[in-house]
Symmetry: C2
Subunit: 364 residues, 2 copies
């Protein structure tokens, strides 16, 4: 059994040479897999699935049993933290997540406090421990959280949004209030991720799903600065059960963050996640050896046939080129996998990334 240090996924994040490009997929445990839908049905609903560690563990491992993916990611929801703050998360049938008590005024902001991850969020840490045990070091486990700004979007809007009117009105009219929410969120996210690391997460990823809706300038002040705070507070190593010490890499992903890649790479993270609007070669030119890169296939490529999937994966790998010294690349989608994805296309993708990236290295 390999020690954690030898996992190709972790080596790529540390920008060490690897024999091939590792791959995992955002939302790889999800509705495109019939076995996931069966477990979810058994759980009753999505939140119950998240809050039952054995079931969260079961779905986390499902994609690994189908595909030779190089990492597992904790199955959980992005809104566990504001839920633990008492905002009343719920899922209306056929709609996205909603909060019963959105944070819209001074009084609501004053009441916010970072939850204790070992209490209100204990079910998440239990899931991390359960998954680590079940994985038995087959592949590393990624923990995650939403970013302070992304959590604030849901907290202020009370759910998803098309125009982000509520949070942007607060941003421009009452920036003091939004900064207070974001400061609480930054503490909460750092505590939450540190608890996941302590429970067994071997990498953590921060999903800034909505930072890309901000104007230049506002992004830096209301999303990036708080990402930097979170990263600075993270424990970047853990001690494994066998006493070995391991680094814990940090991945930061702002969807739509293309304009600010250099600035994201400068906040102290190990890897920058990319969506599909940026060419991978171009992103590498901009970032150089400062960070590993993760991404960035359009998930909709997986709607075509296996041949097209292979061609697009090869195009993307060729665009990056075989990683040079100090260049780590983790293959991923630029956003979560669609529920309509044929699983056979995922198999073709994983196989192609592994085989073509080996070929690229041989050709050097």
């Amino acid at each position: 059994m390999p020690t954690p240090k030898e996992h190709v996924f972790l080596k790529a994040l540390r920008r060490e040479p690897t024999d091939y490009t590792p791959i995992w997929l955002m939302r790889q445990a999800g509705r495109y897999l019939p076995e996931y839908n069966a477990t979810r049905k058994r759980a009753g609903n999505f939140l119950a699935l998240c809050k039952t560690p054995e079931l969260a563990c079961e779905v986390t491992l499902q994609p690994l049993d189908r595909f030779p993916l190089d990492a597992a990611i904790l199955f959980s929801d992005i809104l566990t933290v504001p839920d633990a703050m008492g905002l009343g998360l719920y899922f209306a049938e056929g709609e996205g997540p909603k909060f019963e008590r959105p944070v819209r005024d001074e009084a609501a902001v004053a009441k916010l406090a970072a939850p204790d991850p070992s209490a209100e969020l204990r079910y998440v840490m239990d899931a991390v421990r359960t998954i680590r045990g079940a994985l038995a070091d087959r592949v590393p486990l990624i923990g995650f959280s939403g970013s302070p700004f992304t959590l604030a979007c849901y907290m202020v809007e009370g759910g998803g949004s098309d125009d982000f009117r509520a949070i942007k009105t607060m941003l421009y009219a009452r920036p003091d209030l939004l900064h207070r929410i974001l400061a609480v969120n930054a503490t909460a996210v750092a505590d939450y991720l540190n608890a996941q690391i302590e429970a067994g997460a071997q990498t953590v990823m921060i999903f800034d799903s909505w930072g890309g809706v901000l104007a230049d300038g506002a992004y830096q002040a209301f999303s990036l600065d708080y990402l930097r705070t979170v990263v600075s507070k993270l424990t970047r190593h853990r001690v494994e059960a066998d006493g070995t010490k391991a680094d814990v890499p940090v991945i930061v992903f702002t969807k739509g963050g293309g304009p600010w890649l250099e600035q994201i790479a400068d906040i102290g993270c190990d890897a920058v996640g990319l969506d599909w609007t940026i060419g991978l070669g171009r992103a590498r030119d901009r970032i150089g050896a400062r960070c590993a890169l993760q991404g960035n296939l359009d998930p909709m490529v997986l709607m075509a046939g296996p041949d097209q999937v292979r061609a697009e994966a090869i195009r993307l790998l060729d665009d990056h080129g075989a990683p040079r010294t100090g260049h780590g690349h983790v293959f991923n989608l630029g956003h979560g996998i669609s529920q309509f994805t044929p699983p056979d296309n995922v198999a073709a993708l994983v196989e192609t990334v592994h085989s073509h990236s080996r070929r690229l290295r041989t050709a050097l």
Copy 2:
């Protein structure tokens, strides 16, 4: 009365020196104005408003009576062209636009043909002529169209979309079909804009609202190439009623087009529209004197108070700096104005852009 050449809006697009920065707002004739809602109610519904030249003229002029804006834009819908292709445009109450007959397969694609703008789209040309008459050269009139790719999104999806699954599936699985749609659309858009120019439009703008959802590579092949085709087919001048000849500038706006600004600036347009994710100064550094720029305030700034609106407008103008030789700037939002905008904030914005941009020039 000024000749068309002297309008500050047209001078800025031609990158000639101006005394101040001109401003207009995307969707400036719209639901945030009570007088618009009154006219729309009189029309019965949105499509009737678009298809009745006198009413389209009435709403086009409404914002000019309230604010000293520097240009008018034809009031119309972005989907007039596919509607004229026979796809059956309709608006379900409380929903976005939909097509009764989306273009999903080989047979539907084979049937597509560019409509005759003087027949099926005659109501648009009548509106342009009516508006030009009513404007009496107060400010220039902008004509517009959706881009070939943006029209294709609606045509293939059958309406709006969150994930663009239908069109991206076609793009990756059957690129030949999508290219055929886009070739027809490029002809249709060029014919449509040329007819608007002939009818009186003094500038034309192409709205590529959805090009930004494409992956790098796909954007160039499926949106930018067809924008280039349209621009190359446009009549770039018109003869006014008094016999004077006038250039007709072309503005191209890909929302989310930040990664590709240099490439957009190279397709032969006079101005590049910008959304708010790109700093205006940075965009100017990237584009230099190749094109005028149009944009790019986040429309949600207008949700705050007049003081914040003024501060953000000043910040944006300062970021660009007083236009140097060959640098034209037209102030605008980075997207359409929200229906929830208080009209007083628009007044504050227009006043600030005019007065602060005069100050910037004096300070040179």
